[in-house]
């Protein structure tokens, strides 16, 4: 925070500081706690966690079966537990026949333990209103064109179940290590609004 204010800060900034200071005085909050939580979601908990889950499932068929049977337990095997897995993690596998995508039309439910905090578009009205109504048009905006005979399944996270998509492994990646595969996996592919692309060298 700079010490000079050339223009007035918006009311919301003062309101938050007021709440924050009162909660600190009442013993419910500390500034070090805010710093630590922020650091957790900026550095430790994010889509790289989900990418490790996906890469493991691609190289280990037994792990993949466990992941699809009991997402919570299989994700915990890699050390990912805590707030934001809802009460239960469910993973759906994309195949040539079925494409899964995830939305929360009522608020912004999102699998924090594997993807971190959601991007703004996921929480905004355009995606939340349209994903259930016109998923093919939504996917096209994300640059994904699926064959007409691919079934689309949209998972509206209306309860404490959190969903993650296991994307299809791209062709030409047979020689890649688990870590190299994880590096290909994007947040959007695990929401189900993108496909994982093979690295240029493999294409």
């Amino acid at each position: 925070m700079g010490s000079h204010h050339t223009e007035p800060e918006p009311w919301v900034v003062h309101r938050v500081r007021a709440l924050e200071s009162l909660l600190i005085e009442k013993g419910l909050l500390s500034t070090e706690l805010v710093d630590k939580v922020v650091q957790t979601y900026e550095k430790d908990v994010g889509p790289m966690n989900g990418a490790r889950v996906v890469a493991r499932a691609w190289v280990d068929p037994a792990y993949k079966r466990r992941l699809l049977d009991d997402g919570t337990a299989a994700i915990a095997e890699l050390g990912f537990t805590g707030r934001g897995g809802g009460d239960k993690m469910v993973v759906h596998e994309n195949t040539p026949a079925i494409h899964n995508m995830v939305v929360c039309t009522l608020c912004s439910c999102y699998p924090w333990i594997v993807l971190g905090l959601p991007p703004v578009w996921y929480k905004a009205p355009a995606y939340r209103s349209r994903a259930v109504l016109e998923p093919r048009k939504v996917l096209a905006e994300f640059g994904v064109e699926l064959p007409k005979d691919t079934e689309i399944r949209v998972w509206d996270s209306s309860a404490e179940i959190r969903y993650m998509v296991l994307p299809q492994r791209p062709e030409g990646t047979e020689g890649l290590s688990e870590a190299e595969l994880a590096a290909l996996v994007t947040r959007d592919a695990m929401i189900g609004v993108a496909l994982v692309q093979a690295p240029a060298a493999a294409r």
Partner: protein, 228 residues
Amino acid sequence: MNGVHDLGGMHGFGRIEREPNEPVFHADWEKPVLVMNLIGMINHIFNIDEFRHGVERMEQARYLDTSYYEHWLASVERLFVEKGVIGRDELDARTRHFEKNPDAPLPDRKDPELLARVMDVLVRKGMAEKSESRPAPRFKPGDPVVTRNWQPAGHTRLPGYARGHRGRIHAIHGVFILPDAHAHGRGRCPEPLYSVGFESGELWGDTAEPKERVYIDLWESYLHPAEA
């Protein structure tokens, strides 16, 4: 409640605006708002259903005109006041203090026990609230169901677009706290929760895209049995 938060199937919100290399936070004030919500729930000052309903109770036009963390702020502020943790007057007075003294520091307080407790929930234990009773599910996978035409003024997780429609039980998730009760201090009222699949044509009629199904997680009391 039939509010603007219930967005599924609405028209007119335009294209999906994505931000390349989006930061985790867009402003410093968002960070304490995230943490205030977590400590409110971890300390059982309010529960997640009260929190979600607090967002829904925002002035409806303002909901659409404000950001995600402004929604969270509105709910957190309202709940800390309603639950008697913070007085409305002291909050307003403190806000005026920071308006006049924008560089005034926050109180300095170290609390290793609080830090350890919150981080334990965040990255290890989670905060799932388990329900004690295990009522047996009335439906099984494959059963046809019809959703209720359920229009409560309070909180519900049955989206408007899925009311009064035929679907099929896809899976049984287990027994979960009923948000409709839990958001209003009426206890946990645990019920079986199902994944229910709906054909797009059932939800959207002739305008539906082909070969699409929507799956929604619905509590048993949202569902009636249907003829096969």
